[in-house]
Symmetry: C2
């Protein structure tokens, strides 16, 4: 029996989530004997709830192929978490209603832990409502915090961006230090786990090389130890490069970003950890500083994505389809590391129930004893993930990113569904 | 007569200033009949004043060649402006004393307007003191504000970085807008001229494409016009991407970055224009925002330098040596545009006296009537400057940037010179 497939992107996008979409759609197109059209949710799961579906079969093969080198979420993503089944049966029933109306037998959900939870629930409610749907999670998160997979597509490219940017900015600061900036801070993502901050550590290979300090969410910020290290570093090297996770926090759990000065009305000062750290460095040590906040640039920087990350993102999309056609259900393809050097990996699988709502933090043994840098083990883990360059094509000096038609599928239901 | 050459880097570095150094040193090495060693100033002109010279002849050809793809200033730069001759004869006399002691007959100064002024003065004081030195300026500035040259090496690569980053972040924000971030702000360099901000305009080609607004230093910030545009843009497109120059200012000249809230002690709030704009957007329009501050990342991002910029940076270094050997003095090589499309350029020259201490602002006709975007003329000017990719070599996923030995030259003077 041939049924359509539904694909949706969820949560914060990455520079390679579209490579997973490419893997899903290209693989489905090769299996027209089993899969009809791939319908995508406009703005993720919201597109399914509101019956706002995109007909990806209207896109030429060249546009689908170009997804492999296009950042962002080509069909729109959403930060929308379905509630518990018992609190919101209507949402799940609506999904099944839409799937039934469009003859959707496969649900591919490309996201992080919350999305795996949703896919898992859709699988069980479909069965319960007499409309079984094959549900596959496809891992995606720059935060690298999904359990059960050695690493997560999206992370390697951010890691490469942060490592390269740290190297480059360090060369800049080093050359200016004699008369100008002595301390440079790069604020990076990762509110709950220090994987991205750790990746900054790949920029140098010894204590005299930048980054000289990394601030991890996993290590409570120790003001005096920090200031002593910065001061010592400037004395030795004439400059100091710091990679600071946006999630760096005090021992009581307060984010450094929230510990800054308040304005006249008592509102917390805008600006994140970088400005707080910079303020501290200036007021306590008197050094001239600069800081950069990579923000969305880091997770959309397809121009410097890691080739291995692109390959893995494509592979988890492709394998999700293949697993589904092999009769698997309620699983997520995983990346399995077979060897560090030379790096070898393969695709495995894990039950969605084992992934949902669990966060993988940076292990303590990946952080040096003093809490300010990465260990050799961490380096061995990270190094393979930034390997290879996979540049997008350029025209007139700018990347050629895909623009899809995103043609809507005609609605078949006469009921609307309102999103809060 | 064969004499040594002195080369120094000045002011904020760029991703291609070392390509100019490469051009100088490689060309000088080919002309060993006329030029002895190239001695570099450690930390720019400070190295000359303190007789802290680097012997570049100790570097293998491969290391010098690698300068072409290495960001930062390989010999160290300095923010150090020599005073007027009449106020500080001692400094100029000291330079000539060091040059005489090391048999330096050529002075290559790689910097912006201030440096051209210094090179000009050294030329005249050398003559006056009976030790004539051939003085050549080599243009360098990300700000693109030097007069007499069509563009300035360093700018094209920042322009490409900002255009590419704006494209990429815009794809990210567009995919998140339905449920999350609606306004994204990218803060870029250019305190006095809007060239870099204008480059963000290359990311889109019509009013519905990002960036939807650009804030230029040349256009006084109009709060209500700005808010109306952002609100309108979000209504039309569901999101809004803003490129904001760090030099954006109010009609009275106050930088927006300095107009934010003050802390409990009355100190201006840290953080630049992006946080001020973000605060305004949130408080007046209620939109969720994100902002990135590119800071040093933009000017050190050799991984995405424009090939044409690298070529031009090398060419002005090479031509400075060739001009010197042809008997020219007190000039700066310039980039002369011969055609927009296809872009053709050549190297010209200008007297240093005509460059010194003059700033080239973004012309009003490069900015749209409403002050929020670039015109077609501006686009024709900018587009050629970001052309081509010139990727550095990579090993294990990270760029191979040059590390020089920077061996010191033995001192020949028994007097020290103290820098303030």
């Amino acid at each position: 029996m041939k049924q359509n497939a539904f694909y949706a992107q969820s949560g914060g996008v990455t520079s390679v989530i579209n490579a997973s979409a490419c893997g899903v759609i290209e693989t489905a197109r090769k299996r027209r004997d089993r899969i009809g059209k791939v319908l995508a949710g406009r703005n993720g799961i919201i597109g399914a709830l509101t019956e706002d579906l995109i007909d990806t079969s209207a896109e030429p093969a060249s546009a689908i192929a170009a997804l492999r080198h296009t950042p962002g979420g080509a069909f729109g993503s959403a930060r929308y978490k379905l509630r518990k089944i018992e609190d919101s049966t209507a949402e799940y029933e609506r999904l099944i209603e839409v799937f039934r109306a469009h003859d959707i037998g496969y649900f591919f959900y490309n996201g992080g832990g919350d999305s795996m939870d949703t896919a898992h629930k859709v699988s069980s409610i479909g069965r319960r409502l007499g409309y079984p749907v094959t549900c596959m999670g496809i891992p995606k998160t720059v935060d690298n915090d999904l359990p059960a997979t050695d690493n997560c597509p999206g992370f390697g490219s951010v890691a490469k961006y942060i490592a390269v940017s740290t190297m480059e900015a360090a060369l800049d600061v080093e050359s200016m230090a004699r008369t100008s900036t002595k301390v440079f801070i790069l604020e990076v993502m990762g509110r709950h786990a220090g994987w991205i901050a750790a990746a900054g550590g790949l920029a140098g290979s010894g204590p005299s090389q930048a980054p000289h300090l990394i601030l991890f969410p996993e290590i409570p910020f120790d003001r005096s130890a920090f200031l002593a290290r910065v001061s010592d570093c400037v004395a030795r090297n004439e400059y100091c490069v710091i990679v600071a996770s946006e999630g760096a926090r005090l021992a009581d759990g307060t984010f450094l970003a929230d510990s800054g000065t308040r304005d006249a009305f008592g509102h917390a000062q805008l600006g994140g950890v970088a400005s707080v750290i910079a303020n501290l460095v200036r007021s306590e040590l008197g050094y001239k500083y600069h800081y950069a906040i990579a923000d969305y640039l880091q997770r959309s920087a397809r121009h410097i994505s890691a080739a291995v990350d692109v390959e893995q993102a494509y592979a988890v999309g492709r394998k999700a389809v293949e697993f589904a056609l092999e009769g698997e259900n309620a699983i997520m393809p995983t990346i399995v590391r077979e060897a560090d050097e030379p790096y070898r990996w393969t695709i495995g699988k894990v039950a969605l129930g084992r992934v949902a709502n669990r966060e993988k933090k940076l292990p303590r043994h990946y952080i040096s004893a003093d809490g300010f840098s990465i260990t050799g083990r961490c380096r061995r883990y990270l190094a393979p993930l930034v390997q290879g360059e996979d540049y997008p094509p350029y025209k007139d000096g700018l990347p050629c990113y895909a623009t899809l038609r995103n043609e809507p599928v005609a609605r078949r239901l006469d009921t609307a569904f309102v999103i809060d």
